[in-house]
Subunit: 322 residues, 6 copies
Amino acid sequence: MPTPRFDVTTLGEVMIRLSVPPGQRLESAASVDLHPGGAEGNVAVALARLKRRVAWVSRLPNNPLGRLITNHLRSSGVDLDGVVWSETGRVGSYYLEFSAPPRPIQVVYDRADSCAAHMQPDQIDWDTLLDTRLVHVTGITPAISPSCRAVVAELVQRARAAGVPLSFDINYRARLWTEAEACETLLPLVQGVDLLFCGQADAGRIFGLSGEREGILRGLAEQTEAKNVVTTFGADGAMAWDGQRLWHEPALPVQILDRLGAGDALAAGVIHGWLNGSLAEGLRYGVVLAALILTQYGDMVLTTPDEVEMLLTRTTGGGLMR
Amino acid sequence: MPTPRFDVTTLGEVMIRLSVPPGQRLESAASVDLHPGGAEGNVAVALARLKRRVAWVSRLPNNPLGRLITNHLRSSGVDLDGVVWSETGRVGSYYLEFSAPPRPIQVVYDRADSCAAHMQPDQIDWDTLLDTRLVHVTGITPAISPSCRAVVAELVQRARAAGVPLSFDINYRARLWTEAEACETLLPLVQGVDLLFCGQADAGRIFGLSGEREGILRGLAEQTEAKNVVTTFGADGAMAWDGQRLWHEPALPVQILDRLGAGDALAAGVIHGWLNGSLAEGLRYGVVLAALILTQYGDMVLTTPDEVEMLLTRTTGGGLMR
Amino acid sequence: MPTPRFDVTTLGEVMIRLSVPPGQRLESAASVDLHPGGAEGNVAVALARLKRRVAWVSRLPNNPLGRLITNHLRSSGVDLDGVVWSETGRVGSYYLEFSAPPRPIQVVYDRADSCAAHMQPDQIDWDTLLDTRLVHVTGITPAISPSCRAVVAELVQRARAAGVPLSFDINYRARLWTEAEACETLLPLVQGVDLLFCGQADAGRIFGLSGEREGILRGLAEQTEAKNVVTTFGADGAMAWDGQRLWHEPALPVQILDRLGAGDALAAGVIHGWLNGSLAEGLRYGVVLAALILTQYGDMVLTTPDEVEMLLTRTTGGGLMR
Amino acid sequence: MPTPRFDVTTLGEVMIRLSVPPGQRLESAASVDLHPGGAEGNVAVALARLKRRVAWVSRLPNNPLGRLITNHLRSSGVDLDGVVWSETGRVGSYYLEFSAPPRPIQVVYDRADSCAAHMQPDQIDWDTLLDTRLVHVTGITPAISPSCRAVVAELVQRARAAGVPLSFDINYRARLWTEAEACETLLPLVQGVDLLFCGQADAGRIFGLSGEREGILRGLAEQTEAKNVVTTFGADGAMAWDGQRLWHEPALPVQILDRLGAGDALAAGVIHGWLNGSLAEGLRYGVVLAALILTQYGDMVLTTPDEVEMLLTRTTGGGLMR
Amino acid sequence: MPTPRFDVTTLGEVMIRLSVPPGQRLESAASVDLHPGGAEGNVAVALARLKRRVAWVSRLPNNPLGRLITNHLRSSGVDLDGVVWSETGRVGSYYLEFSAPPRPIQVVYDRADSCAAHMQPDQIDWDTLLDTRLVHVTGITPAISPSCRAVVAELVQRARAAGVPLSFDINYRARLWTEAEACETLLPLVQGVDLLFCGQADAGRIFGLSGEREGILRGLAEQTEAKNVVTTFGADGAMAWDGQRLWHEPALPVQILDRLGAGDALAAGVIHGWLNGSLAEGLRYGVVLAALILTQYGDMVLTTPDEVEMLLTRTTGGGLMR
Amino acid sequence: MPTPRFDVTTLGEVMIRLSVPPGQRLESAASVDLHPGGAEGNVAVALARLKRRVAWVSRLPNNPLGRLITNHLRSSGVDLDGVVWSETGRVGSYYLEFSAPPRPIQVVYDRADSCAAHMQPDQIDWDTLLDTRLVHVTGITPAISPSCRAVVAELVQRARAAGVPLSFDINYRARLWTEAEACETLLPLVQGVDLLFCGQADAGRIFGLSGEREGILRGLAEQTEAKNVVTTFGADGAMAWDGQRLWHEPALPVQILDRLGAGDALAAGVIHGWLNGSLAEGLRYGVVLAALILTQYGDMVLTTPDEVEMLLTRTTGGGLMR
């Protein structure tokens, strides 16, 4: 069997993020900083920075905002041949005030009716998308629109048929759909995936799992038959369960500038390790990448393999629990 | 008859403008400057800065972007009691690269489906809107959506019924509708208005008028039975026709930083003069305000009565032509 | 009796604050940020942002700096009809280096001889100032100049005569007068006020009160016969005494960007609660507003009723002590 | 014969440019803007933005500055597989004050001993470099160092041997070598090239050609036996001679922000047309690209095929002269 | 006779200039740029940058704003031993909007009651001030305050007594005093000075001289018995008259960013030439320095002897007229 | 014996530091901030800000970057008469990403082959350098180049011959030479110096001293016969040993913005106290200056004697230990 063209392919929406400088309020801001952001694109960039061969598929308008997004991803080395370009339509965006305790992070979404939301299954080059060692998707895409739901459903079905491993990050977005809708849609999609990512809060909201941590991971594995389950516990780090072994990796001490993108960075790290054959190593990569993105403005981590290796030596707290 | 509460009331959409710093391209921009902008709001601010009592009516979401717009207009003294607030919906926006010859100005609109576009006639406080010496509207609002078209139609009909003078700026937007649609919609609306504003290009596109300048103004007056007609000729200034007399006012020499808002500033100046009883004076105010806004970043002119009076003394080139 | 036109009216000086970007020293700064700031104006803006009907009275020069101040206050919805405009004179200013431990906050005042300092009693529209549910003043204004002292004295006397409730924030400024002068001037002014605000340090300097906290509040009430007394204890929050009950509200955990304006925000919150009939609720509003302003650059808090209500649910530590 | 992998390959040095904001002097600057810049990289980016398949070869240190350069070129779509990475060494840089008449543009070069200057012939992947429809080099590279001179000599010799067309831009740099050295080195290299670019001043300094314009182009063709010669005449535009026909294209009217990169943009445009089979068309592309880069900060033009086509319609002044 | 310690000493006020970024209005500015500025300090810096030994005397408060001024002048090499430091008092300031046609330059002065205005004759170290080849003063200082007037009067009288040459720039400031006051004060002071600078407008206002240019210079010389007279004619350059010969030097073509400081730069250039023994050469230095400062933000020119010499070769239009 | 002309003279390299704004990565930075930095220059500036008479000697190119460095040092009052200017050559530079845990501070040095590295003994004005109460050098300079090593060797030898006290900061730089080279070179140079500064890590690397703190200082004194030894222990402050007494001064609580320059600030403080005759006082000055520089961007501390005295009162934790 020939080596697949890509290590990881992914599909989803990237938006323009417009963030207010610290100490200002959006309603009196005179300028905002622009960064592209979107869960699957964030994962793609992190993996490409680690020298993985990565492709990202989406739908974008052929205008400066569409190109701003591809300029950014291309700069990190992400393959964009599968992007579907449209002569009309808009790019979704979101305005951001960083968290400044006692204020939580504040986001004004303006993402409805984007080009990506109008993505259709027949626009996708499935062969390229499946010419990969792993397909990564998230629960955001099916929440965006019915056609996006159809795209993800077809992608999952085709990957299963072709025997391509799947990675799925639940990523529940309460502003896009209800917990019931999410549960109904996502549960079939994640059955038997190779990697399942689910944050502690989402485990409760979508899977009804709470309480003791090991139980959450076991419960996720039982409900989904996922081969590997990774759950994040905020400042307490992340845990992974492969059906037999349980690992925990505490979060690195970090000076947080920008909270967005940490979950995606963690997923990228885990995928990186999984591709190397080690979930435990992936968890360590994940907490390093998550710490790095928290120190950078923007959702997409900028790093190098050398830097990550150097920081890996600092993740001494975690390891096999059981 | 009691003095009306306002000198001018107006209704329309204000958007968030996101402009790229000079010398950069939007597709590689790291930050953008924020200014609110929209034809009727621009007129309202200019008149309020000249100490006119002005109200602006629109529909906005109750979020930081909606408040950014009202903060700005309130800061200039525009009355906002008639703004309709919505708990959902979005603010329209547009991204801007300034003109840098040989490049023309470049705008990426992202205004579809805004809160303002969903404005309905039954949301408007008609009594307040008509408690004024003049109602000002533009041809942009009926182009935004069917419900906005209904709002403007009802406003014009109610103003006529109440004997409230009307000011109408044609402002054809080719990205929103065709010339034929615009013509069909606008022609009935502008019949008999007290002030009709129409740029030279729009006179050709909507009214089929071109060629010699005086003929354009006379043609507009004939087709619309407008009591006063004002036409702008770019760097050649503006002309006004009151059915008997023709005035011309050349543009002031100006160092242009930002081309947007000049037409609205001119309309505000003309309205200011008209309220004082002099179309000719209004034309002079108009070219002064237009010159001022061209030297400022943003669509809404920031000035004082004193400054405008001081600059009025420089408008020596124009006057009565016939 | 008709409803008063305003919920709160206030009178005082607002200055231009010029602050150095963090990490730089004023003596080598290449630029400074501009914000208007002044105790009574800060209170006015906070209350206006909570949708209170507020008027602010002062004296300003009719120049861009005077207008910078009114633009800002008008933007928040503060009524400015009572501002006295002068064709000559200056706006006071102060240069600010933020606190960067071990350095304390450093302020270079340049406020002498301002337009506000030349405010005279006969320039004030007393009827408007008293057409309110509460008049709020501070101990800064009588310290500015003899004529300002006369203005405050007349305001207090007229309010008492008209039965309008008074709020007074001691706000001792050591650079403007001595403790003895302040004591002699302020003591008669604050007799019997409805709301007395006095920081812990000022209680010692002006009223000779120190030691155990409850004793300070009781002592202030005894010396002033104020109906309600509020004392702030820095990071330990604030306490209120209404002659019978004592409340304490701890400060919210906060990431401080800019220390100025917290005391004024607290006063605004207390006034907001008092207008609702609850000193205890006001104390909770106060600590929320104080926390918010500490996370924003500038002395004037930008918030909404919704945001404050959301944060109110976090003030769980305080309540009735006795 | 198979289609070559690339349309154009090029080899040379890209440096970090550090430019002072307009109106400031470098000796008192507090910050500088960073842009990568270098003649061959500039050409590569312009062609990649026009959707040409382009590769750029150079030698860079594996540090953030090396990556800054590749991030930028990759963002535009330039292939970088041929870049030689070094674990040590530096990136050349140059500090820039823009021209502000009466001051000419002022550049402080700090480029000696860069990684690129240490490029050796045996480090180059010649097969990839020659798998192209055209190789483009400039007279800067042989001036940098003896080893770079050897690299260019070998490249020219290999291209000739393989029948790969050559494009050569003279680009004399007086700070790197003398006119005599340049002449002696460059003359053999440019013999028989398919495209020769030579500015008016360099024609005088290196080839001893001055006076009437047509004569300069004919003289260049005679001395070099180049198949096509293109000469730039600053604000007077550019001329091209293919041995039989002479074309002239005037410069577009332009508002200059940043003078650097115009010659490289012109060369890119000419190459683009040449690849399409039309030198005349290439000259028109060239003046459009040159005008565009003069309105943008940075040496590397950011544009799209659509924008260039739109502006092409404005190049009406030129054409076939003879 | 020993060589004097300084080439030029000067005395006057330097203020903090706060300028609004281009395209913004002061009344809505969020930040301002800081530069020190003041006629005599500007001359001192320009001469120090040309390697002249220069001392500047003034009175400043010992606070960060006072030090901002001395940091700046010291950085250029101006001797500050004669500065009188005060533990109290303020630095004068002025807010600036750059000229943006049709708007003229707009300045809000806030300079009253500065430390410099309280300078007293007995605070000055006269011996140091007179240990120089030339004393330079302007008509601004006597306009600031009576004590400053006394200081300048005593300086002029002492210089005459000691045989130290005097340079005087009329520099009438209409906001500080009337033409009549200025005339009465300045006429005695400038009698017999070695260098008299007087702009065309001031020649009319203070000396009643207008009309033909040569007549203005001769008239100034007659009324003042100045040994050398220099008059500036804006964009038409400057003329000099030494009682026998008349020179004219046209202004250099220049792209103006910031209009302030050109007159002071011209004076510095003339003084530099005069110290070299050539008024004609000084006029050429003057127009070069004036052109340079117009391209830089700030009132104080930053240049080098090399740069000035290089630009001198461009002043080819002027020379001896008579 | 006459009073020496200077309190302290020093010799070394100052470079241009280019730092990335917090939250950005160098490889995607659009701009960098410029500050001059270099161990001996940092010490010189700190002492000059404390009103010491200080001279700094180095070698710089006569270009804007060379002048940027001297402008900065001159602004603080450092005497620069001994600077050797070269018409060619470069200024060293280093690019900086601030520490953002978990990332350590990251520096890209580009300092090879600088003008300073080519400094020769015969270029130095030894008389001026020795006309001082103390000569201060560091272990960086001999590491830069053989000629710099010769310069420092000659300086140390001449100072000893002339009986001028010496201060030496070990400052081992692993990127410039090996520990063995450093040890071999530095050990003879520091024999018998009056002040020896050595960080805890360098004590281990160069002198093989570790373990208990007092032992390190005693060991340094024994190996070097230095009269006074000062060792820094990071956040644990610094200790001093004069052969008889041992002092410890804890670090001040500080909010760190920029970690560079703290060691040099400490050395400056110790020297300041030593000049006053008190090593203990110097240690207290040192921890105050170190705390101050950590709150400022740049390597060179900006302060005043008053500020340092005010903060001295906060250094209450330390004192004589033995």
